[in-house]
């Protein structure tokens, strides 16, 4: 196990190192002078020179790279050219909101995807199966921005059932100030018993979380169905049927548990994917997360911020993969030899 762990950790570190090199290269390869983005479109030559000196852009590229790596290790992820705040602080503000959205979406996705997968497996090749397969295919393939705009227009704009946008009613900051512990609004509201903000955040979460949940729900439903069908063909399932258990009991009482193993691995990977998939959803619903920050950074060619977001997302992917690998190696010794 230690060798397996060291190998996986080494591979993860290599990926992170690759991402660091890549983000630095992209920052330097993007045409144009980053100093212009900081000093403004009408900057004087003196102001541009000051900006270049401030960000070390007047140093040779290898020196800039070494400084970049050194700063990353010391927790300095650079200064955003747009917000003029440390990128690390900006990410610290934005990332919890994305976690909140994706976390809620995954709860919805699992709550819907697993039962739908069971339903499809139970009625394989019949109408419910067809419905689940078509539905999950649609959920996986429909563009998120389209779904976001449609849900917003219908359920917020026309029916008025949910708020149009935002994380919670901002006026509550004055009437019911929230004490922050995790920086994840809904968790903090729950921990501190701040029910006005908790209920407001729940209402605001519904539509964006549904949109972000569409893809994972579809994938989870398909994976659950496939895994259950495979499990239902195993010897133990035949034995259970022979003992008089009905098909529903065979699937839900005996086949579901082993079938959920690959689903759990899938959830870890879909979590990282959903962070990025949620970027457009955040823009439509004004969700103050990583996506909105990334979109505005890209629009203003804020290279340190773009690099910061890229690095953070890459780290989430790497950590999610590492966790899955390590856990698989922990519970299944065969995986350590792969």
């Amino acid at each position: 196990m230690p060798r397996y762990l060291a190998r996986r950790l080494g591979q993860a570190l290599l990926v992170v190192a690759g991402v660091v090199v890549l983000t630095f290269a992209v920052m330097r390869l993007v045409p144009g002078d980053p100093a212009v983005a900081f000093a403004g479109p009408k900057a004087t030559p003196e102001q541009l020179a000051q900006a270049r000196a401030r960000f070390g852009l007047d140093e040779p590229v290898p020196v800039q790279f070494l400084a970049y790596v050194r700063d990353l290790f010391t927790g300095d992820w650079g200064v955003s050219l747009r917000t003029r705040q440390p990128v690390r602080d900006d990410l610290y503000q934005a990332f919890p909101a994305s976690l909140e959205l994706v976390g809620a979406a995954l709860v919805l996705a699992v709550a819907a995807g697993v039962p739908l997968g069971v339903l499809a497996a139970r009625f394989r090749t019949r109408l419910p199966d067809l419905g689940v397969r078509v539905g999950s295919m649609l959920a996986v393939s429909v563009p998120v921005f389209w779904l976001a705009l449609t849900l917003q227009l219908v359920f917020a704009g026309n029916l008025g059932w949910f708020p149009v946008a935002g994380e919670y009613d901002a006026s509550l900051d004055t009437t019911s100030p929230l004490t922050l512990w995790t920086n994840i609004t809904i968790v903090d509201a729950l921990i501190t018993g701040n029910w006005p903000i908790f209920t407001s955040t729940l209402r605001h979460l519904v539509l964006p979380a549904l949109v972000v949940a569409a893809y994972p729900a579809g994938v989870i439903a398909q994976m659950t169905r496939a895994a259950l069908i495979e499990e239902a063909g195993q010897d133990h399932a035949r034995m259970e049927r022979a003992l008089g258990f009905g098909e529903t009991a065979v699937l839900t009482r005996f086949a579901l548990r082993p079938a959920l193993n690959p689903v759990l691995s899938l959830i870890a990977l879909v979590f990282a994917y959903s962070i990025v998939n949620g970027f457009l959803v955040e823009a439509v619903f004004n969700w103050p997360g990583l996506g909105r920050y990334a979109a505005e950074s890209i629009r203003s060619l804020d290279t340190p911020a773009i690099a910061g977001v890229t690095l953070l997302v890459a780290l989430v992917y790497v950590v999610a993969n590492l966790v899955v690998d390590v856990l698989q190696g922990f519970v299944d010794p065969r995986a350590r030899r792969r």
Binding site: V36, A156, D173, T174
Partner: protein, 544 residues
């Protein structure tokens, strides 16, 4: 893997995620920026929300502005030079404010002013009874210190004070400027950037407090949040308060136009600075929403490379001017732009009606043929750069490419980020350079000084024009503006004719038009193009 282990794994993953975002350590959201806002949040009737309105509840005299970008990047009134103008203009004031209708500066913190010595000395009389938000009184010494600090910081648009040699405060209400060269200092003092008068001892770059004299002061600022900034009425404002005025402003950052439109329809925001043409048309017929449309001071320039390449030949440049479908472009813009007349937008001294260009394909063909190009001659290849993601510029490029194709001209257009486009432009890397221009203070001189005055290292002179006569005429403009506005008008008109008709250095297809949508219960809204996207909320009333 057994279920308890799986649950453990899920728990660990959750804990890791929480820990990653944790360490907030029991701070109260918003309180770190504005302790008083949180302290007042006890749910008492007096502590009404300063942010967005409660769901389903009326605005309660909060004016909610929905900008599409983050509001504040720089809290220092000396160096602020970005989108925060929409907030700062409600917090800070200058000596004067520009009135686009009257085309002149009108009193603000200065009640009257005079110039002497051919526009090289200016004396401003300050308004009495004005207090800074810090509690200090405004007097000439405080104003002097503010302007001197802005000049010393050399940030943002501080260059607008370049003409100033010295500032004196002979008494508490008199401020005297001695200039190195004549300049219209009343216009300079009306700028939306770098002209604020503030209490230098109260400047707080973290945004907890502010140092202005304006009608509103900072309520709360939460960078990155949807409702990023709230402002509240400054009770000691010199203009006083009436019950029907908005006492609070909230800036609710809304990048998506469609979302902003939904929020406006739901009554959750009061003002949306820009919609697309389709939504703007819809807004014009929507109940409880009203629209406002007015020309800006920002126009689109097509700068021709007069120094190298095929466009060095004036006949090519004139042909390009004639090939632009000005009317078709304005029609296609569906109200977001209007036809330009000369280089200077209307509403500024120097705006010259009667200089509207027209497409003339026959003339364009003749000019190209005389230069050795055109339908029966070798193909002419030209390169053009424009702003990536700007649909209006893209429209111009599409129409121009199509028109030129009929004249056997291949226009290779490249959409680029401003950084990259500007870098290329400084190296004379294109034949046509498309960009917007707007003045930092309401003076037409900005176009001529920055875009057309000779420069060895081109900065914004991206037509690369070098002409001593034109430079001389440009240098004479500030003094004329300061001393003889009639002559200044004539000089501006002559220069525009020279640059557009005689030198064919530039084509001006259109002036951008502001298309605003706002709640119909707002009374008294009027755009002031000298302050882009600013709503002077103090000047508004709320119906009912």
């Amino acid at each position: 893997m057994r279920w308890p282990k799986r649950l453990l794994v899920a728990g660990v993953a959750g804990a890791v995620a929480l820990t990653a975002s944790a360490c907030a350590g029991g701070q109260v959201r918003g309180a770190s920026k504005t302790p008083e806002a949180a302290a007042s949040g006890t749910g008492s009737p007096a502590a009404q929300p300063a942010g967005t309105p409660s769901e389903g509840v009326a605005n309660d005299a909060t004016f909610v502005y929905a900008p599409n970008l983050d509001v504040v990047t720089d809290w220092d009134p000396a160096t602020s030079y970005s989108n925060e103008i929409i907030a700062m203009s409600n917090i800070y004031e200058g000596l004067t404010r520009y009135d686009a209708g009257a085309r002149k500066a009108v009193p603000r913190l200065a009640t009257e002013w005079t110039s002497s010595d051919g526009g090289k000395q200016w004396t401003f009389k300050l308004r009495q009874g004005v207090k800074f938000h810090s509690g200090a009184d405004l007097d000439a010494q405080a104003a002097k210190k503010a302007i001197e600090r802005t000049i010393e910081k050399k940030g943002g648009a501080a260059y607008i004070w370049d003409a100033v040699d010295s500032i004196e405060a002979p008494d508490a209400s008199t401020l005297t400027f001695k200039l190195k060269y004549a300049a219209p200092l009343d216009l300079v003092a009306s700028s939306g950037y770098a002209a604020y008068i503030y209490d230098v001892d109260a400047v707080d770059e973290s945004g907890r407090t502010d140092a202005g004299t304006g009608p509103y002061t900072v309520g709360s600022w939460q960078k990155g949040k949807e409702t990023e900034l709230t402002l509240k009425a400054f009770d000691g404002y010199w203009g006083g308060w009436k019950p029907e005025q908005y006492r609070k402003i909230a800036f609710r950052v809304t990048p998506e136009i469609t979302t902003a439109w939904q929020l406006l329809q739901q009554g959750e925001v009061t003002f949306v600075p820009r919609l697309n043409p389709q939504l703007f048309a819809q807004a014009q017929t929507t109940a409880k929403v009203m629209t406002a449309q007015s020309p800006s001071f920002q126009n689109l320039l097509v700068l021709f490379n007069t120094a190298s390449g095929p466009a060095k030949d004036i006949r090519i440049r004139q042909a390009l001017q004639a090939a632009i479908d000005y009317d078709g472009l304005v029609a296609a813009l569906k109200g977001s732009g209007q036809k330009a007349s000369g280089l200077v937008p209307q509403g500024l001294l120097g705006g010259a009606p009667g200089l509207e260009p027209k497409q003339d394909m026959q003339k364009a063909q003749e000019l190209l043929q005389s230069a050795g190009y055109g339908p029966d001659n070798p193909e002419l290849k030209l390169s053009l750069t424009y702003a990536q993601g700007d649909e209006d510029q893209k429209l111009l490029v599409t129409l121009l490419s199509s028109a030129l194709k009929n004249l056997n001209v291949d226009l290779r257009a490249r959409p680029m980020t401003w950084n990259a486009q500007w870098d290329l432009g400084k190296k004379q890397g294109q034949d046509l350079f498309v960009m917007y221009w707007y003045p930092d203070y309401p003076d037409a001189y900005s176009w001529f000084l920055n875009v057309f005055k000779s420069s060895d290292k081109p900065q914004f002179n991206l037509s690369y024009l070098k002409d001593a006569e034109i430079d001389k005429a440009i240098d004479a403009l500030p003094q004329l503006t300061a001393t003889d506005q009639f002559k200044a008008e004539q000089a501006y008109r002559d220069l525009q004719r020279e640059l557009i008709d005689d030198r064919a250095a530039v084509a001006v297809p259109y002036v951008q038009t502001y298309q605003r949508a706002l709640s119909s219960d707002v009374q008294g809204y009027a755009d002031n193009p000298a302050y882009p996207n600013v709503v002077f909320v103090y000047d508004l009333k709320r119906a009912g």
